[in-house]
Every structure is written in C-alpha cells, then in structure tokens.
Symmetry: C2
Subunit: 120 residues, 2 copies
Amino acid sequence: MNSVVSLADKLALIDGHWAPHIVSRVNGQDVKLVKVLGEFVWHDHPDTDELFLVVSGTLHIDLPETRHTLTEGELFVVPRTVRHRPVADQECHVLLIELAGTLNTGERTDSRLTNPATWL
Amino acid sequence: MNSVVSLADKLALIDGHWAPHIVSRVNGQDVKLVKVLGEFVWHDHPDTDELFLVVSGTLHIDLPETRHTLTEGELFVVPRTVRHRPVADQECHVLLIELAGTLNTGERTDSRLTNPATWL
C-alpha cells in the first residue's frame, strides 16, 4: 500500500465494467477504481457513504427524486442508506471511496453485477 | 455536502499556499483541497493516515529515509505516525483525504504554517 499509485496505470489494467478494484486504503476506507458503462442496479449501502470522483467521462448518479451529473474532476457523495443508481451513456472511469469491505451492489448481493472488489 | 463538487471551481477560490479547505466529507473523512509551494514543515499525525492525490503539478513527499514524487493523477498515503514533509518546487494542487479535524501541521500546532481547515 505504501507506494505511489498512478490512476492511469491502474485503470489500464482493468477490463470490463462495474468491477471495482482497490488501489489504496486510508483510515479503513478503500480507494477503488472502476470503469462503468450503461445502467447499474438500484441499491443502497446501510453502513457507508460512497464518494464518486469522475476521472474521465460523464457519470449520472440517479437518486430517488433527482439525477446528478458529474464530469471529469467532479465528485459527489451518496450518504449511507440513500438509494442510488450510477448510469453512464459512454464508458466512464470513476474513483470511489467507501468503507473497506463494501459490496458494489449494496444489499443486492446476488445481482449479475455483484462483484466483490479485489486489490489491483 | 450533498451536491456535486467541481475540484477546478473550488481550487479557483483558493488564495495562498498551505491553507487546506474542506470540500466534502465521507465517513468522517475530510476531502480537502490545498495549493502548495515550497517546503512544508516536518510533522506527523498520530491518529490519521493522510492521502495525497495530485490534481495538477508535481509534489514531493519526503519521508525520513526516502522521497516519493507524485505528478498529476498519482496518489500516496502517508500512514499515521510517519513523519513527512510535502515539498513543491512549483505551485501544485493537491486533494487530501484524512480524518475530519486533522490539523495540517500535525503535532506542531504553532508553526507559521499551521492553518485549521475551513469549508469552502
């Protein structure tokens, strides 16, 4: 963990979409990278806030009553317990910060998109 | 807190160097932006790891026995209790993640560079 991490170098190693990879950890929070495309599933995380920082592309974060749209260099925090759905019309690269051990699909542990994060 | 944050827009509001500003919070961690130039003071944080992500420019992080150099899109975590000194030869913009309430100069509470972070 105690080395310099290049986001671009790590992203180059990631294949596929919606599979988060851990690249660093700070105070029990995982720093993850993920490539996204299309619509994710609606879900929530009861125990963790979730920070989304767009590294490249455009990301929509649908909340129950609104849609937030983030472009490169913009971030948004979904508070714990708030239902949300990330959506990307074109491939988008995202940095996530959330409690270590968080499952990407939250309470939906058996979605086809459920993908436990692994260290990259 | 629950809005989209543009790093560029927030950085444009910051004057001076070594004055961290809080722009978001996730799970009790502050997300801060800071402009740095020159040599900071050697210090440590007994209770918090500290993540540095370079938004623009080049940042050296001196540790007791080594120097790590980060450019745009690179991050490094200084573990709690490890003495360190950030150095930038030219102005550099940095995103920090650390426990809310962390003082920038750590145990050195009376340095001329001591600057409690405020929300931006």
